[in-house]
Every structure is written in structure tokens, then in C-alpha cells.
């Protein structure tokens, strides 16, 4: 139909409700989670098969039949898809235990798989329309997932705001895409690159870029379009927060990259210049806002905004090395933020509160969780020898090489600033125990610890050996820039 990884995912999306019903019949709701996890594993294996092909040249899977879409799979697509599916697998395994107290689990896993399929479809898309369809699939699933625990007011309200803003964004992006279609007569990325690559920079192109940037910027949480993010990421179940912060944001950055480097190369200087300013704004806002927050997940949500700022900083340089740094940071951030949210979720699972005042000393009762959480926090600050350091180093080096030394300094300054709230979380975890509920808390269940520890192990491994990720990111950046050459 489409291509094997995507097809596998969509198949599992379609059949998950039935698996869930069957699981309900045998009174083992967690089986639907196992079903979803196995689906992701199969899809990952299928993606691995694609990796070899995409390394040399973009793959254009032949389309025929009822559901034909234009797909273009290059290294960047494989890179992003591996992030989404890998994090998705960890989150799914984690959710088996985390969501066991909730009803409607089959719905949850179906939606989760749908969201991942939407993201994978977005990165596999070869033209704007396909991208939009899968983008909407991802968005709508994420709206519902944020509001999953609909017996509470907070997730519903957060989801409502997310929905309105996200839909406004999608509509704006669609308007921008229509302008692009009007200007070039084609929707495919190659076509856009060919038609608009050397076009005269006129007002319509500028307008289209403004609309696209705004539209995708909502999902990417560029300040000041980020206001939905703290609410949505805190109110969603922690596993979904991990996916939102780690993967969905990355998908937004991808969409900006892809459309930007395909259609807007004629006005590259301008729109990247605007992006530089926006990235600095995003960084600073994302790092200053959480400094006084007391809600654990809200702090982590704001920090996601800050990291988007770093990614955009790398992106806005437009050079190979800047893009490598940005892509590498998407990868590393998915690992770090995913692990952080999973550990935070474990703590919240035990304590049933999100307020950090009530969490004092929890690390002494949940040592493994605390160690995993600490490692992910230190990685988020950007300390060597953990993985966040290398990607931030790449972005800073790229900034210095492009002559924007002040941007590099801003990134470093922001890392230092972020230590202010990451270390605060660390302090809360290792303080002496003060409350009864913390005293009685036990270690998180193994089914939740294993995915978190697996992500942390990868954080440490890629910190000590950053080369594989860097090479992968470099190839992806090259593939992204190659579209201008007309492939």
C-alpha cells in the first residue's frame, strides 16, 4: 500500500480495537498494550530494512490502488521515523503498567499507534498533501490523547486549547500550502524545489513562508505560539507527555525543515534570519519561565520549549553542520526528555501528585527511578559525557563558524540558565524525606523502570560514543540539503 513500516503501523492501528476487545474478553486489558508494542517492534524491523536503501538515494515507493500517496523516503525520513518509533516503543511498554488503572486502554493504544503512524507518514511524505493528511492524523490523535483522562477537568481544558490552537495552525499551514501550489503548480517537494528554488523572491513567497512558519510553528512551540504546551504536556498522561515532548515537537521541526528547504530556498536568508530571532526568543522564554514553577511536569514542558529553541538555532544557520547539530539534538532530546517524563510519571504514579513540594526526598525511596531521572536531567543541562553535550556543541560550533558567535553564546548561556531548574528538581529528589506519602512510597514497577532505564542507557552510551548518532544526523542533513539539487 504505502511502504512496509507505515503499512504495518496502520494495520496495527486498524486492528488494535479488535485486539483490545479480545483482551477485554479475557479480562487482561494490558494485552492490547502488548499487541501495540509488538506492532511497533515489527515496524521498527521493517524500517531497518528501509535504512539501507535510503542511504544512497531517496526511495520512492511505487503507489497504486485505492490509497495511493506520494512518498519520498530519504535519510532524514528514516532518521526521524526511527526516533518516533523507538520512543513510541519505550512509551508503549511503559504504558502497559502506567495506564493499568485507566479504563479504555484499547482506545489509548489505538490512538497512540495512530499518532505514531501520523508522524511516520509525515516524515515519509513526498508532497504537501500527503504531509498534511498524516500531519492531521497525528494532531487529532494527540488532541484526544491529551484529554484521555476526561473525568478530570484539567486534561479536557488543556486539550481544548491545544485543539483550537493546533487546528488554527493546521489551517494556516494549509493556506500557506495553497499559496505554494498556486505559485508552482505542484505539491511535491521535488517539484517545489525545482519551481521555486531559483524564483524571484516576491511578496507571495514571503507570505507563504509566514503562513507556513506560523502554521507549523504552533506545533513546534515557537514562542509566542507555545502557550498550549505547558498545559497540554502537564495534563496529559506522562507517557503521552513523553511522546509529545520527544516526538511530536520533533515532527514540527521536521515539517519546518522540509518545507523550508524545499520551497523557500529563494528567500532562505530572510526566513532563516527570522528564525534566528525566534529561536533566541524561544530559548530564553523556555528557560526563564520554569524557574519558579512548582509543578514537575510543567517544568519539563517549559524545558521542551527551550530545547526547541536550541534546535531552531541550529536549523536557522542553514549550514550542513548547523542542521547536523539540530537533527542530532532532536534525537538526543527525544531520549533525554522521554526518559525524564517516564521517570516523572513513575514518581507521579506512586505519589499521585505533580507538585514538587510534596515530592521531597522521593529519591531515597525510589533509588533506581531517581538515578535514571538524575542522569536524564544532567543530560538535559548539556553536561559531558552525556549525549546532550555533543549536539549542543555541534550547534555552538556551527554558530561560531557561520559568524553568528552571539547565537552560540546565547545557547551556552541558556544551558547554564536551564541548570537552575533542572538542579532544583534534582535537589527535591534527594532531600530528606518530609511527608508520610513519600515515606510509604515504593520503587516504581519493573515494567515502568525498564523502558526508562533503557532510554537512560542509550543516553549514557551515546554520550560516550556520539559518533553513530552524529554520522546518522550528518547523512540526514545532507539528504535534506540535497533536495535543492533536484533529487
Amino acid at each position: 500500500m504505502f511502504t512496509l513500516p507505515l503499512d504495518t503501523l496502520l494495520f496495527f492501528v486498524a486492528t488494535s480495537p479488535f485486539a483490545g476487545w479480545a483482551a477485554g474478553r479475557v479480562r487482561r486489558p494490558s494485552l492490547s498494550g502488548a499487541y501495540a508494542a509488538s506492532g511497533l517492534a515489527v515496524a521498527l524491523w521493517a524500517l531497518y530494512g528501509l535504512y539501507g536503501e535510503a542511504a544512497s538515494a531517496p526511495v520512492y515507493p511505487p503507489q497504486a490502488g485505492f490509497f495511493s500517496a506520494s512518498l519520498r523516503i530519504d535519510m532524514l525520513s528514516v532518521f526521524m521515523a526511527s526516533i518516533f518509533m523507538g520512543l513510541g516503543l519505550a512509551v508503549t511498554v511503559y504504558s502497559v503498567k502506567y495506564m493499568e488503572r485507566d479504563t479504555g486502554q484499547p482506545l489509548y493504544y489505538t490512538l497512540l499507534l495512530a499518532m505514531i503512524s501520523g508522524m511516520v507518514g509525515t516524515v515519509f511524505a513526498g508532497d504537501l498533501f500527503t504531509l498534511f493528511v498524516f500531519w492531521e492524523l497525528m494532531c487529532i490523535s494527540s488532541y484526544v490523547l491529551v484529554a484521555f483522562r476526561n473525568y478530570q477537568w484539567e486534561p479536557v481544558e488543556a486539550s481544548m486549547k491545544y485543539l483550537i490552537m493546533g487546528s488554527a495552525g493546521s489551517a494556516t499551514a494549509l493556506l500557506g500550502m495553497s499559496f505554494l501550489y498556486g505559485m508552482s503548480g505542484t505539491l511535491s517537494f521535488q517539484g517545489l524545489a525545482a519551481a521555486l528554488g531559483h524564483a524571484e523572491p516576491d511578496a507571495w513567497l514571503h507570505l507563504a513562508s509566514v503562513l507556513i512558519l506560523t502554521g507549523f510553528g504552533v506545533k513546534t512551540a515557537i514562542v509566542p505560539l507555545h502557550t498550549w504546551l505547558p498545559d497540554a504536556h502537564s495534563a496529559a498522561p506522562s507517557s503521552i507527555s513523553a511522546m509529545l515532548s520527544g516526538a511530536v515537537i520533533g515532527c514540527g521541526v521536521y515539517a519546518l525543515c522540509r518545507v523550508g528547504f524545499a520551497a523557500f530556498t529563494a528567500i532562505q536568508g530572510q526566513w532563516l534570519g527570522a528564525l534566528v530571532v525566534l529561536s533566541v526568543l524561544t530559548m530564553f522564554a523556555g528557560n526563564i519561565l520554569p524557574l519558579l514553577q512548582t509543578d514537575l511536569k510543567r517544568v519539563l514542558a517549559y524545558s521542551s520549549v527551550a530545547h526547541i529553541g536550541y534546535m531552531l538555532a541550529g536549523l536557522s544557520l542553514g549550514t550542513q553542520i548547523g542542521l547536523t547539530g539540530a537533527l542530532m539534538h532532536i534525537f538526543n532530546h527525544a531520549l533525554m526528555k522521554g526518559a525524564a517524563f517516564l521517570c516523572a510519571g513513575a514518581i507521579i504514579y506512586r505519589l499521585e501528585t505533580r507538585q514538587m513540594d510534596g515530592m521531597a526526598g522521593i529519591g531515597r525511596r525510589m533509588p533506581v527511578t531517581a538515578i535514571a531521572f538524575s542522569i536524564s536531567l544532567l543530560a538535559l543541562i548539556g553536561l559531558p559525557p552525556l549525549n546532550g553535550f555533543m549536539s549542543e556543541l555541534a550547534i555552538v560550533t556551527a554558530a561560531f563558524e557561520s559568524g553568528l558567535a552571539w547565537l552560540g553564546v546565547a545557547v551556552v548561556l541558556n544551558s547554564i540558565l536551564s541548570a537552575g531548574y533542572y538542579l532544583r528538581i534534582l535537589r527535591v529528589i534527594i532531600q530528606p524525606v518530609r511527608s508520610e506519602s513519600v515515606e510509604g512510597a515504593g520503587e516504581a514497577p519493573a515494567a515502568m523502570l525498564i523502558p526508562a532505564c533503557a532510554l537512560v542507557a542509550l543516553i549514557v552510551a551515546f554520550g560516550i560514543w556520539p559518533d553513530p548518532v552524529m554520522a546518522f544526523a550528518q547523512q540526514s542533513a545532507a539528504a535534506l540539503l540535497a533536495i535543492i539539487g533536484g533529487r
Binding site: I222, T227, A285, I288, A394, T397, D467
Partner: protein, 686 residues
């Protein structure tokens, strides 16, 4: 080369990985943890042994891969460099570490901090082997730092500062806590480390690589670039040398070594005999070809590079004398051994320095230094292990209070005498041949002043060696006949503790008996190695590969005679004073004022510790008052009150944009569009 690919990797990785187990495993007895660590060390020794067949070749093998690439291009490698130097050292280190770990099995049996001990020991050994086998400066530095950090943990093992573990004194002189001693060691060596790192980065800026062999092979290119800025090479050398000189406790960074005796005896054996102090010698030997090339072989030659050898030789020679004199008056057993270690390392540095001061002495100097390294490691480790036994048996750290019984500790007494005689340089033990080679290389290189310095130190060494054992074992009344003294203490330790230093003492004798042959072998090894590197053939017309052999036999004999003469000159007075008791030190001191002055000068460590204390410690403490009043107050307020206030108000202010009202959020949408359009227009204008 017939070296198995995995051997060097396993050699350092096994102890590193094994170090985790004592800390992580629960419900396993301390004894088992010790055995686990010792087993890993023995496997590591096995790996080192398996590399020995590679010694027959001349040349080197490098195995590695890229560790990570720096974003701006350039990369840091992860590889092993296997050449005669690293093979020899890896074997020495792993063998001595194994024996010391076996000794530790019994030593820390009842220590509550045993888990910590095994962790640090194993990690230390792994780090030491890593730095020996590393093929580039960054990987080397990782191992170097691991060694430094573990030494801090090991020296400060009794960090809870129980009074019985304090060293220093005897009263009324001050004592030091073990935690402070560990900290002092860390600080002084870290100072050297920072300097070494700075020098490494300077070299990288010019050379574009960290790899040792690449640095050597592209030396003409980057030396030329460096020479364009005058003084950079000298600066690099001075900064570079601070690292190994600090690590090997040479002047002026030597003050941490005497205090490092606060750790348990096997720790002192490992750190001060076998490994850590040798790391500095290793580094100097490792980079020696580069600077020798710069000074003698390359066209044009860079005389600035001679600074390297002058510094190393002068500091080495001076440290040897300095420490030798201080050991003459030391009262603590382990302090005497510490000073003697510093003195011997001085000899090794002297040999390495002399090696580069003239083309004739290259091979002789390096092989003398390495030969001495091997033999010193063996007999000094034995001495420290015996010291541990002696301190435990007598319950005191001061040799004057020990009064050990020769009858009841017959074996320990014998082995200790063998090791001390080797230290003094008495033929035919290993120390004699290696010390002889050092002196010979000084002569061959024409360094007569250094030769005189080294020979004088031989006399001092002999004196304090005999003094040490005289006071320890021979202080009881001689004439008691067969009964032995009632107030003499001591008993033979368990076999697990006795065996390691027995092996080492026997090895000392064995190497001594095979002395000339071992020396020749090492000489040939390095001769072939340097020839393969191209250092020897080019530098001189007549053969310098066998500089020592080219000398007439009479010169070698003369040097040996001088050496023995110095031993007698130092040893006989000590024998008379401390063993035969013809007079006593106290009586002599009373009679001669100049002896008293000399004694107090040496006792206060040439006033160097006091000077360092005054310049660094007291000045800093004195500056505290005015600094707190004038600078800290306002600066403190600005940083700790001002900046948080600034940022919190920014945070609070910024928070207000999160209204939670959806219509406001949508307004931001419009605001963003406007902002973007403005930015784009501004770009157009600009």
C-alpha cells in the same frame, strides 16, 4: 606482530569493569569481592604476558578506531599503542598490581570500607593500564585522571580521620589527617594535570592531532609552525612537564608524596612503588622521541626542545638529592620509603633527561631509566608490603618505636634486607645494575655535574637504607644471645601476605644475578626501536645504538667502582651507628652543632613545606578577611541576590503571558504573524 588483537583492550578493560562489582553486588562476602577483583587483575596480567612475544620486534603496532569526531572536523581516537615501552610497563604494572591485590586480601579483611577499597584499587589499575596503552593524548589523559581520582580515594581511605590513622609527628611536631592528605595529593597533581591539558591543547592547535605516533611522524610540520612564534615551544614544554613532574612527585611538586603515606600499606605500595609515580616517567619516555627529534634529528633543529631534557635531568637529579637527604632524618617508616621513592624517580627522570642531552646517550639513557623503573618497582613494592607488616606487627608508624624481633620475623627481616640492599645499589642485586646504568649514561652524555650529583645521592641512599633497618630490627641489645628481648615485638604475617613480597624479593635477586644480561636486552630493545623510528641512524656517524658497549670496559668498571665506593661511604657510618652501635645518633648530634643544624634543616624538609604553606595556604587564609569585607560582600549580593531577583522577576513577568485564556492565546497567533512580517520586512531593509 604476534599480539592478539584483543589483549591490550582486555588488559585495561578487565580491572575497570571488575571495579563495579564490589560496589554493586550485595549479599556477597567481602572476601569474595576481593577474590573477584584479584581474579580480574590476574587475567589482566595474563593479557599483558600475552603481549610479551611482541617485544622481539622493533617497531610498534597501533590498533584503534575513531572515538568521536569533533564537529569542526578532526577527531579523537580510541586505540592502543603497543611498542616495547608500553609492553614492558603494562607487564610491570599488572604483575605488581596482582601481587599487591593478593596481599590486600588479608590486609583489608576486617576493614569496614573494604568495598570502597576494592572499587578504587581495581579502577585505579584499569586507569593506569589505560594510560600506558593509550595511543593518543586524550585517551591517555582519561587514564591519567582516573589514576589521580582513585589515588585521592585510596590515600584518603581512612577518611573518617580516626586518630590512630593520623600521620606526621611525633609530638611536638604536627600530625595530619588522612582526609587532608588525600586532598593535598589531589590538588597538587590536579595542578599538574591542568597544565598538561593546556599544553596538549596548544600542541593540538599546531599539530591537528592528539595521536602520539602521528605527532611524531608529522613533527617537522607542526614544529615548524610552532617555531614561527618564538617561545611557544618552550612554553609548551614547561606546561607539559608540570604534569608528569607533579604526578611523579618531583621538585617542586613533591610535597604531596610524604603525606600520601596516610593510606593503607598496599595503597602506598601500589601508588608509590608500582604505578602512579611511574606514570610521569612513562609520559616523559613516551614523548621523548618527539623532542629528541626536534633537538637533534630534524633539519633545521630546534634547540628550544633541549629545554625538555635540561628540565627533566636537572629536576630529576635535584629531587634525587633532595629526597635522599630528607630520608636520612625521617622518623616514620613510610616517610623514609616515600622519600626514597621520590629519590629513585629522580634517578629515572635524570636518566631520561640525560638521554636527550647528547646523541650518544639516547639509547643508554632511556634503557637505564626503564631498567631502573622495572627493578625499583619490584623492590620498592616489596619494601612497602613489608612496611605494612611491620607497622601492623609493632602498632607504631615510627621506626624508633618499632623494635621488631629478628628471630620471630626472620623471613620478613631477610626479604626487607634484600630489598634495602637493592635500593642502596649493592651488587649483585638488581638495584646495583640499574643504578650503574644510570650513572654510566650520565658519563656517556658528558654530564659530569649530574654524575657527581647522582653519585653523592648513592651515598645518602646507602646511609638511610642501613639506618632504616638498623633502627627497625637491630635496636635491641645485641648481646642477649639466644634468648631474644622480651620487649621486642612482631611475628610473621600470614602466608597470603608473606608470599607477594617473598616473590618480589626473590625476583630482585634473580634480576640482580642476571643483571648485565637484562640490561643488554633492554638496551637492544630500545636501540632497535629507536632505529626503526629513525632517531638513531640519522643523528650520528658512528654507531650510537650501543653507546655503552662502545665505551672501553675500563670506564664501565670505573663507574661501578665509584658506585660501590659511594655505597660503602654511606653504608659504613650507618652500620657503625645503627647496627654495631659503636656510637649513637643522639650522642653525635649533641657533640656537633653543625650536625644539629643540618638535622633540623633536613627534618623541616629543606623548609619547602613551610614555604609552600606560607605562600599558598597562609596567604590565602590571610586574604580571606579583606576579601570577604570588600569584594565578597558586594559581589555576593550582586550574584546571589541580584541575579536571582532579576531572573525571578523576569520569570514572574513572563509568566503573565500564560493567561490560560484561549482567546488571548489566539491573539498571540495574530501577534506572531505580525512579528514575522515585521522581521521579514526588516531583513529586506537591512
Amino acid at each position: 606482530m604476534m599480539v592478539s588483537g584483543l589483549a591490550p583492550w582486555l588488559c585495561w578493560a578487565l580491572p575497570t569493569v571488575a571495579s563495579v562489582f564490589p560496589v554493586v553486588l550485595r549479599g556477597v562476602s567481602g572476601r569474595t569481592k576481593g577474590v573477584l577483583v584479584t581474579a580480574a587483575a590476574s587475567l589482566s596480567w595474563g593479557m599483558a604476558l600475552s603481549m610479551l612475544p611482541g617485544l622481539t620486534d622493533t617497531g610498534y603496532v597501533e590498533r584503534g578506531t575513531v572515538w568521536f569526531t569533533l564537529p569542526a572536523g578532526g577527531s579523537v581516537g580510541l586505540g592502543m599503542l603497543i611498542d616495547p615501552l608500553s609492553i614492558i610497563l603494562a607487564n610491570v604494572v599488572s604483575f605488581l598490581s596482582l601481587l599487591i591485590l593478593v596481599y590486600s586480601l588479608r590486609y583489608v579483611e576486617h576493614d569496614p570500607g573494604a568495598d570502597r577499597y576494592w572499587f578504587f584499587m581495581s579502577f585505579f589499575i584499569g586507569g593506569m593500564l589505560l594510560l600506558i596503552l593509550a595511543d593518543n593524548l586524550i585517551l591517555f589523559f582519561v587514564g591519567w585522571k582516573i589514576v589521580g581520582l582513585c589515588s585521592y580515594g585510596l590515600i584518603g581511605h581512612y577518611y573518617h580521620d580516626d586518630r590512630k590513622y593520623w600521620i606526621g609527628g611525633p609530638p611536638p611536631f604536627p600530625s595530619q589527617r588522612p582526609s587532608r592528605c588525600g586532598l593535598k595529593a589531589l590538588l597538587v597533581t590536579s595542578l599538574g594535570d591542568v597544565s598538561l591539558l593546556a599544553s596538549t591543547l596548544i600542541i593540538y592547535t599546531y599539530a591537528g592531532t592528539f595521536n602520539f605516533m602521528e605527532l611524531y611522524q608529522t613533527a617537522d610540520v607542526w614544529l615548524a609552525a610552532m617555531a614561527q612564534n618564538s617561545g611557544v615551544l618552550t612554553l609548551t614544554i614547561v606546561l607539559f612537564l608540570a604534569g608528569p613532574l607533579a604526578k611523579s612527585a618531583q621538585f617542586p611538586f613533591h610535597e604531596w608524596l610524604p603525606e600520601a603515606m596516610a593510606g593503607p600499606a598496599p595503597v602506598s605500595a601500589l601508588i608509590h612503588a608500582a604505578t602512579m609515580v611511574k606514570a610521569g616517567v612513562y609520559l616523559v619516555a613516551r614523548v621523548l622521541p618527539i623532542f629528541y627529534f626536534a633537538a637533534w634529528v630534524s633539519q633545521p633543529s630546534y634547540p628550544e626542545a633541549l629545554t625538555f631534557f635540561v628540565l627533566v635531568a636537572a629536576i630529576g637529579g635535584f629531587s634525587a638529592l633532595l629526597a635522599g637527604t630528607q630520608a636520612v632524618v625521617a622518623m616514620e617508616l613510610k616517610k623514609v620509603l616515600a622519600y626514597s621513592t621520590m629519590s629513585t624517580i629522580g634517578y629515572m627522570m635524570l636518566a631520561l633527561g640525560v638521554a636527550g642531552l647528547s646523541p650518544e646517550s639516547l639509547v643508554g639513557g632511556v634503557s637505564a631509566g626503564i631498567f631502573y623503573l622495572i627493578s625499583h618497582g619490584i623492590f620498592k613494592a616489596a619494601l612497602f608490603l613489608c612496611a605494612g607488616v611491620a607497622i601492623h606487627a609493632s602498632g607504631s608508624i615510627y621506626i624508633t618505636e618499632m623494635r621488631l624481633s629478628r628471630r620471630r620475623m626472620r623471613l620478613t627481616w631477610a626479604f626487607m634486607w634484600i630489598s634495602v640492599l637493592a635500593l642502596m645499589g649493592v651488587p649483585p642485586l638488581s638495584g646495583f645494575w640499574s643504578k650503574d646504568e644510570v650513572l654510566l649514561s650520565c658519563l656517556v652524555g658528558g654530564q659530569y655535574a649530574l654524575f657527581a650529583l647522582a653519585s653523592a645521592t648513592v651515598a645518602f641512599t646507602a646511609f638511610y637504607g642501613v639506618r632504616l633497618l638498623g633502627i627497625m630490627f637491630h635496636s635491641g641489645r645485641e648481646s642477649e644471645g639466644g634468648g631474644g628481648n622480651k620487649d621486642e615485638r612482631g611475628e610473621e604475617p600470614s602466608r597470603l601476605m608473606l608470599l607477594p613480597y617473598a616473590i618480589l624479593a626473590i625476583l630482585t635477586v634473580a634480576i640482580g644475578l642476571a643483571g648485565p644480561w637484562v640490561g643488554e636486552m633492554i638496551h637492544g630493545l630500545f636501540g632497535g626501536y629507536f632505529t626503526s623510528l629513525g632517531l638513531v641512524a640519522v643523528s650520528h656517524t658512528h654507531s650510537t645504538a650501543s653507546g655503552a658497549a662502545a665505551l672501553p670496559v675500563t670506564v664501565s668498571m670505573a663507574v661501578a667502582m665509584v658506585s660501590v665506593l659511594m655505597v660503602v661511604a654511606g653504608g659504613v657510618p650507618a652500620y657503625l651507628l645503627y647496627v654495631a652501635k659503636k656510637s649513637s645518633a643522639a650522642v653525635l648530634l649533641e657533640r656537633h652543632a653543625w650536625l644539629r643544624a643540618a638535622h633540623s634543616f633536613l627534618w623541616s624538609r629543606w623548609y619547602m613545606d613551610a614555604a609552600i604553606n606560607r605562600v599558598f595556604v597562609r596567604t590565602t587564609l590571610a586574604a580571606r578577611g579583606p576579601f570577604a569585607k570588600y569584594a565578597e560582600g558586594s559581589l555576593d549580593r550582586a550574584i546571589n541576590v541580584g541575579i536571582p531577583a532579576l531572573i525571578s522577576s523576569a520569570s514572574r513577568g513572563l509568566r503573565r503571558i500564560q493567561t490560560g485564556v484561549l482567546s488571548v492565546n489566539m491573539l498571540y497567533f495574530m501577534a506572531f504573524l505580525v512579528l514575522l512580517i515585521l522581521l521579514l520586512l526588516w531583513q529586506e531593509v537591512v
